[in-house]
């Protein structure tokens, strides 16, 4: 039963993620005073890339190079589907929040390793940069998510956090711990989506799209899908763990949750990416070990102080 639901949720999360990408590009263009591409542009890009020729560089480790975009996008879509199932209430397993975040981590790591296996030196540099960014932002992200979902009935689960919020209102508005955790999570979201200022891994002016440099055609389509699903899943996770608003009926609440995810992503990914320029790798690592880390630890401390 759960497997069927996950299968149904997979195309839903993929479509929603690509649609959000279209919104992102449109809003970004309008902020820069341009008309921008149509909303369905990411779908055009995806289909076009799928229909293109497949090129595997001779210097690459063929197996890793060809399978990692597929695996990575599958893992990202699985993470998104698990989140949807948790939101719908059909997945009630302790620790599924941790599983979702870990799947997203492995998805980005796989993509970097696959790109680096192409033999391109830019991709290798990108792997080194990517790993240092990954480990600097995933730690505060994980802590803030744990702080948000520790109070639920199945421990550390989406369903538990949602049920708790249905009783006592949105977590970020009802507790200090929730507010601090949300602030920390929002600061980590641009890194999850790999957008400016934290896109040092795929910086086009420095490492020419990093690990994506050799990927073309269907591989690039899947790599881009994995990225955009990770981006939207992180936004949806933030909206469901911190800002789930009880509105009476479940479908209305879910729609509000999705809308909240779009608004959060527009603030912390689209708008931030339009305002600021790219920072350096060392600055990314330094930044995440300071403000978001302090916020996340503060959220955890507030939670523990409140309980004991």
């Amino acid at each position: 039963m759960l497997a069927l639901e996950l299968l149904a949720a997979a195309p839903l999360i993929a479509t929603a993620s690509l649609l959000y990408d279209g919104v992102d590009r449109k809003v970004r263009a309008r902020m820069q005073g341009r008309v921008g591409p149509p909303l369905v542009q990411p779908f055009y890009d995806f289909v076009k890339l799928l229909s293109k020729d497949r090129i595997v560089p001779r210097a690459s480790a063929r197996l890793i190079y060809t399978t990692s975009p597929l695996l990575s996008s599958a893992l990202a879509v699985t993470a998104g589907s698990l989140l949807l199932a948790g939101l719908a209430g059909s997945l009630r397993v302790p620790g599924d929040v941790v599983l979702i975040l870990s799947l997203l981590t492995v998805a980005s790591l796989l993509l970097m390793v696959g790109g680096a296996s192409s033999g391109n030196p830019y991709a290798a540099v990108s792997l080194a940069r990517g790993v240092s960014v990954l480990f600097s932002y995933k730690v505060p992200m994980m802590i803030s998510v744990i702080a948000a979902s520790a109070g639920g009935a199945p421990l550390l689960s989406v369903a538990g956090a949602v049920e708790l919020q249905r009783k006592s209102g949105p977590l970020a508005l009802s507790s200090v711990s929730g507010a601090l955790a949300l602030a920390s999570f929002l600061l980590c979201m641009p890194s999850e989506g790999e957008v400016t200022p934290f896109d040092v891994t795929t910086a086009e002016t420095e490492v020419v799209y990093g690990f994506m440099i050799e990927y073309g055609g269907p591989y690039l389509a899947l790599a881009k899908l994995a990225k955009s699903v990770s981006r939207f899943t992180a936004a949806l996770l933030a909206s469901s763990l911190f800002l789930y608003t009880p509105l009476g009926s479940r479908p209305v609440e879910l729609a509000a949750c999705a809308l909240g995810a779009v608004v959060l992503a527009l603030i912390s990914i689209t708008a931030l990416g339009t305002f600021v320029a790219r920072v350096r790798v060392r600055q990314v690592a330094g930044f995440y070990l300071r403000l978001p880390m302090v916020l996340a630890l503060g959220a955890l401390a507030a939670l523990l102080l409140g309980r004991f």
């Binding site: 263009a29 341009r34 055009y44 289909v47 076009k48 229909s51 293109k52 090129i55 020419v208 050799e214």
Partner: protein
């Protein structure tokens, strides 16, 4: 299948090669991507890797130094792909015909699908040329 060919026409990603151009055409190409002309309306994105590209925009007279680079960039692009020769130098060589390093216009070393004349062409002309190249992409089967 209609949707596939339509997607190709709607998302032509461009990769530019400056084959010894004076940068006049390059500046106008970048102007075509600026808010006033906004090539992203047509789905055009300037990409940094030939592996991602659909349209190769070549500028300048091809010299003996840039010839291998240009041919290599073209070979690295996945099919289907089209080539655009941008500016007088890329179309015919212009004032550089007869130079000892001039290897011939872009059309002599690569199959060119769309020629955009002008020295440099106006951004409006570049947009029109890119639209024509995108139509060519739609027609390509493969």
């Amino acid at each position: 299948m209609v949707f596939v060919s339509r997607s190709r026409a709607k998302s032509p990603w461009i990769f530019q090669v400056n084959a010894a151009s004076c940068n006049g055409c390059l500046i106008e190409l970048l102007a075509a991507l600026s808010p006033r002309y906004d090539a992203e309306r047509l789905g055009c994105v300037l990409v940094g890797s030939p592996r991602h590209a659909d349209i190769l925009v070549a500028m300048g007279p091809v010299t003996s130094k840039t010839l291998p680079v240009l041919v290599r960039a073209y070979r690295q692009m996945p099919e289907p792909k089209v080539t655009v020769a941008l500016g007088t130098c890329a179309v015919s060589g212009g004032v550089f015909v007869g130079s000892h390093v001039f290897e011939g216009p872009v059309g002599k070393v690569l199959p060119v699908d769309v020629y955009i004349g002008g020295c440099p062409p106006k951004p409006e002309a570049i947009l029109r040329g890119l639209m024509k190249a995108a139509e060519k992409l739609e027609g390509v089967r493969g």
